[in-house]
């Protein structure tokens, strides 16, 4: 036989939580109507970065693919030629794919990348209807062209050779005199 407390007080006490919460600030987010910024270092969709003149930073080295624990990255390198240059130096990533069906957004690829070509954005809306659409190709991952950038292929605009790019001894876009700033 339940006690009186159990019969009459406990059922009402349960609603106490409900009542208290009614006067608190709601935590429900109105996603997708309202989008909230993520934490600044949130691991979101990847981005392939560019040099200030628009050349790609990726050198097609596949170290990201090597580091990836989920085998989500596929890279094929190729040679830059005099007529078609995509990155400073000799080598660029001709094929670059990340499979977001596999990626666990761990960021190990970012750590492996020797050129800071690969970083992560805060973009988290990675859902789609088909498998193909979730394999992001190079053009999906490349950073947008900012002012002053030019769509590769084009020659190295910032320095005489890849050494200038890597050492940071290239001419800045904002440098009026056109001389190299260290």
């Amino acid at each position: 036989m339940p006690t009186l407390k159990e019969q009459f007080w406990d059922p009402v006490a349960g609603f106490g939580v409900t009542f208290r919460t009614m006067f608190r600030k709601v935590v429900t987010e109105q996603y997708p109507k309202e989008k909230k910024p993520t934490a600044p270092r949130f691991h979101g969709r990847h981005q392939l970065n560019r040099w200030p003149d628009g050349l790609e930073k990726c050198i097609g080295c596949e170290l990201c693919a090597w580091a990836c624990p989920a085998d989500a990255i596929y890279v094929e390198g190729a040679s830059n030629t005099e007529d078609a240059r995509f990155s400073p130096g000799e080598r660029y990533g001709r094929v670059y794919q990340i499979n977001y069906l596999r990626c666990i957004l761990c960021g190990l690829c970012i750590e492996a990348c020797p050129t800071r070509a690969l970083t992560m954005t805060n973009e988290y809306e990675l859902a789609d209807a088909t498998r193909e659409d979730l394999i992001y190709e190079k053009q999906d991952l490349l950073a947008p062209l900012l002012p002053g950038m030019e769509q590769p292929p084009h020659p190295m605009r910032l320095g005489n050779d890849d050494g200038d790019y890597y050492r940071g001894t290239f001419r800045r876009q904002d440098d009026e005199t056109g001389e190299a700033t260290q």
Partner: protein
Amino acid sequence: MTVTPSKAGSNAPAPQDLVTLTIDGIETSVPKGTLVIRAAEQIGVQIPRFCDHPLLAPVGACRQCLVEVAMPGPDGELRTMMGPPGRVKPQASCTLPVAEGMQVKTQLTSPIADKAQQGVMEQLLINHPLDCPVCDKGGECPLQNQAMTNGRGESRFQEVKRTFPKPINISAQVLLDRERCVLCARCTRFSEQVAGDPFIALVERGALQQVGIYEKEPYRSNFSGNVIQICPVGALTSADYRFRARPFDLVSTPSVAEHDSGGAAIRVDHRRGKVVRRLAWNDPEVNEEWITDKDRFAFHYANRPDRLTHPQVRDGETGELRPASWPEAFAVAARGLRAAGRVGVLTGGRLTREDAYGYAKFARVALGTNDIDFRSRPASAEEEQFLASRVAGRGLGVTYTDLERANAVVLLGLEPEEEAGTLFLRLRKAYRAGGTRIFAVAPFTSNGLRKLGATVVKAAPGEEVPAIEQLAHDGELALDGGGVILVGERLATVPGALSAVAVLASQTGARLAWVPRRAGDRGALDAGCLGSVLPGGRPLADAGARVDVGAVWGSTVPTVPGRDTDGILAAAAAGELGGLVVAGVDLDDLADPTAARAAVASAGFVVSLELRASAVTEHADVVFPVAPVAEKPGSFVSWEGRVRPFEKVLEGSNAVPDVRVLAGIADELGTPLGFQTIEAAAAELDEFASWDGERAADPTVAASPAAPAPAGSHRLATWKTMIGDGPMQDGDPAYHASGPTPTVLVSAATLESLGAAVGDQVELSTDTGTAVLAVGVADLADDVVWAPTSSGGVNLGRDLGAGAGSAVRLSLVPAAAPAVQEAM
């Protein structure tokens, strides 16, 4: 890592030659003369190294292998080897032979050795660019690995590194990144010692020292790919594989090279269903660690756009080939062959042993004919008899190792550097070791023969027979004291030559081996792809042999002797044969390509089993796509008679081997082959025990003296260069560019009478056509010229209707007009 077990074990010395020493406290006994680094390998201690390579002479160039060594003095007391007073001097273990009582301490037990090695590594890395992310060797690099195991973790180097402009071409195929080089001299030693092409050397001094090429002469070698493989850093890379993949992407499968009869072991690396590179694999009995550039780089043929992907049949109405299903194609092929009546089979030289056996049985059981020939090249009836009596089904004969032991080796109708590269390297090793003298009957002293130190008995094309007969009495050669005769397939074109060879071998007791050019030839012969030879070398003419074969096959063997390749084509053209089954034959390889094309075009019914569209598929009534070697298992038989099995490399491929296609047609014909897979074919072929009955007699064809060249013309000597034209070499421009410039060689006197200089363009002509080639000079007879059979787009048979011994005319092509304009 290039760590190879010591070869010392193979020529095991008498026990008294053993030396006992202590390495890291472990006592071991090794043969006298063993290097410390090898002795350490034997007890499982790996000393880091760059320049050391077991197949190259030691140089001690990199100093990475330093160890601490103590020797017992005359008083028996151990004394550590010292440098400046008070300081231990570590020794390079790759140049130091073992000595009795020696005490070696490696990096494992000696802090001094460890520190010395770290110091050397630091020194090597000072000017190394550390550009591993863009380096092809990254991930499989001895420098990377040893920097991790035997180097300092942190760099102390702050200064600016020495750099060179990015890669330079050592040849069209081999690229050199000079700043990555650690100056180990492996590449230069390989070229000088193993291949004998020394146009690559270490030049300059000090920090500027680098690998260089002789400026006027590019690095030209049939074996250049090996330097890429043995370079312990990424300084040498190939244009073909550059930036193509990473070691961790690749699936590696051991296989056997399909480009010559050497049977070289290779490793095939593939990625996503596509072969991306091939490397030499280590087989001490066969190719050691070297392969030819053809074996290494010529693999793109299987991925050309003209690769056949589905069966095709010729449409009755339009006369065009149209895609068909497999069952339809089998049915159409069977119906056509049945209607054709008598059918001939041409199999070419690219088949594996199992596929060849499929054809041999298909011809006899399903088609009821002995009209089958694997020789897609100039051939003769004399050769057929020679092969039947001396080669077919004989099993392992002369081996690579035997060549090193032989006193003398005679090369007849064979240019090993171009026609059997693996054999060339072993002959050169034998020659350099000093024990083997090499003789050759050839029209001139080729570069290859020079590198073998060969004594050349000169013979113009067609005049080899007297020269061969003379060899029996050559006191210097002394074939009877343990000599070996190597006969090339080209000798078939000289009447009487193979008969003379058989006599020579019998007279002198020298051992004889036949060295065909193509990988499949010996296997096809053993499998019975020759009119007069049944599987296992059984002679068709022998009733007992026929019964033997019939018992395995469960049917009777046709007795009518078969025709050879030319005979089959002539009979097809004349309508005596109603049909042809052709497998992978390049008509341009035949003695008369024009006639062959006409014969295939006019033949009643042609079934073609091919990899890619060809001159045969153009006229075929039914075309079946078949698998290239990388997409099926099988085996080749090397010139030694050694069976070289290999596995399927591209597991995902569903391309169909020839055997399966033949089984499909045979089923439709109502005479099943009894096997459908490679494995079953191999098992049945193995049922044929070696033939112990009577063999065909040696050929006895009399030599017919060669007609002298008509006035104003020259006799043509010719063979194929290794890097040349051919459907199996398509698809790699760098590979072709690294080959020799197609050059016609003439004597100095002829050059003078032409008024030409070396390198000028000359026109080679016959009544059929003309070809323009560069001219060079060699020690030929004045009435003989030499030209490559098929390279640089010129095919002598197709363009000139000329073969070995033909008369050709020569004239100088006037210098091109633009040069004149410039002068004006």
